[in-house]
Symmetry: C2
């Protein structure tokens, strides 16, 4: 029994857009912490997913939220961005009037806290810092263990001081969104070999290692560096219970998977994904992208049109730097293979 | 006895400009492979250093060379660069006529192979690929084990195919010059947690892990990920036998040490160092820097003038992302503390 309350010192990383409770349940049943990413779910869908989780297993699971501060809309920047994407809309026959607006991702809120309270998620993890103190106190009322992501030693110290019960040290290798929240300077982001031992030395709470961990040897290496557990994401993307799209699955198994990079084109915040046409042609960190998460909606119709033609040119193909552990097997089998 | 022919599975990373045979000797005597960086030594100085090494120890040591192809001089680019640095020259009262020209670092050559042949270095390591096949055959005649740095899986395969006896997998965490030689695209560079296991899986030769390893736990983690040995650099920078300048030592022990980044301002190639005034004001990857190593000479007088005033504003403060292992102790003590 690990300190997480499950058999293995292992958390399946929440991957919004690529998974539902189906993956989380399979992971929980295999002895690790399965995670349900809530950032892109409507309240009704979130309730249904939590009901499914609670019905399928009484083992501990993790519910994950983003807790960004929604930026004020910036009409000028959005217009510049739409103009930059203009040739792509034209190529795909997309009318300007049909391009949706809106945030794309909702942060954790009092309403969401009310909604989830009846399910008492045993573990809650956050990306981009922590909710405000009142909200944090609310979720701790039912005894939830609160985790959040640190990408620097400073962020780890901040999280501990502000009430995190454990810190996820996210190495630069990790797929998906970088969790940084104190400085937007990407040159401060570190590889896990450097970040992990320094975070372990800086805080008293347990540290969970994330980024580039793809097999049992990776978990053992993380434990050797002082981690109390490992968080594994990309390795699950081909699992039977994952909702990874066919295009994303094909990219993960293609030579293109060898080259991932950070891009803010898809959401407004840097996230690691497989380099594709949009990233190549605009540059992965090109301006003027609207602030997170306002960039999301402008890409949506391009993504849909390209995917309908079988192309991932405008899809966020989130993936970490080490995809050697990706296998099309049941998630339970993958989970057990990660035992240190 | 490790496969390297010494007691520990450990190589002290060559650090040109910060160390001589003094450090290498202390490391060899403590049971690891000490390294002598030759890139910035004149032939006479190199001979003297090798004589000192051979006189002090009969244990195996590593001699390190750069093997870049010297670029053709580009007068226009050099003039642009000098013009960009103009305000700094003015601030320090440096006359244009006094700014030296020249490469700053010499690549491995037939002449150098002749010079070192009488000393038969048991290990030879290269940065930026490998010397041409004839030259490589020459150094293998005396039985030297040949190492070179890979920063991607492709580079590891290339090195194995072209005769490297072992590959150093250099994670993005590492201090000093990146060893990449197949693609200049820095987004292809990986953290060690991702790079190491993928390199181990891709080649049959032994793999040495480098980047972010600062203590025995780091060495154990590298071995857990399949490395046959670890290479440690930054941790030695404060050792008694290191020639690290007073300004560099002070920076390593200051809060500034927490922020390193890749910069090509000092030599023309990306290398990791502590962020200082030049990097902040010009941007660490600012254009128009002359090609490696031609950028070196333009900075030299600024560095000298600033250092004379006790400032490291123009000094390359090479350092990796994990400086937690830096200790002002004898190098033998540090070496023994790294035993896995």
């Amino acid at each position: 029994m690990s300190w997480l309350g499950c058999e293995l010192p292992l958390i399946q990383a929440p991957m919004a857009g690529s998974q539902t409770s189906r993956l989380a349940i399979a992971v929980c049943q295999a002895g690790a912490i399965g995670s349900l990413p809530a950032a892109m779910l409507s309240p009704d869908r979130l309730r249904a997913e939590l009901q499914a989780l609670r019905a399928a297993t009484d083992k501990p699971f993790n519910l994950n939220f983003f807790c960004h501060r929604p930026p004020p809309p910036n009409a000028e920047r959005e217009a510049q961005w739409l103009s930059r994407l203009g040739p792509y809309y034209a190529e795909h026959g997309i009318a300007a009037a049909s391009i949706p607006h809106g945030p794309g991702r909702a942060p954790f809120s009092a309403e969401l806290a009310e909604l989830i309270a009846e399910f008492k998620p045993p573990v809650l993890s956050f990306h981009f810092g922590l909710p405000d103190p009142l909200l944090l106190a609310r979720v701790k009322q039912w005894g939830a263990m609160v985790l959040s992501t640190a990408t620097t030693v400073e962020e780890a110290r901040w999280l501990e001081e502000h009430g995190a019960d454990a810190v996820i040290a996210q190495g630069l290798e990790a797929g998906g969104h970088r969790g940084h929240f104190l400085s937007p300077d990407l040159s401060r982001q570190q590889g896990l070999f450097a970040l992990l031992p320094q975070v372990v030395a800086a805080v008293k709470v347990p540290v969970i290692a994330a980024g580039g961990i793809a097999d049992a040897a990776g978990v053992r290496a993380a434990l050797a560096l002082g981690a109390s557990a490992a968080q594994v994401g990309s390795a699950y993307l081909l699992c039977d219970e994952c909702e990874t799209s066919a295009i994303h699955r094909a990219a993960l198994q293609s030579p293109a998977a060898g080259h991932t990079t950070l891009t803010h084109l898809f959401t407004g915040r840097p996230a690691r994904g497989i380099v594709n046409r949009l990233m190549r042609e605009l540059g992965p960190m090109s301006e003027p992208v609207p602030e997170f998460p306002l960039a999301t909606s402008a890409i949506a119709p391009l993504r849909a049109a390209a995917e309908a033609r079988g192309k991932g040119d405008f899809s966020p193909l989130w993936a970490g730097q080490n995809l050697s552990g990706c296998r099309p097997v049941p998630a339970g089998e993958l989970t057990r293979s990660l035992a240190p």
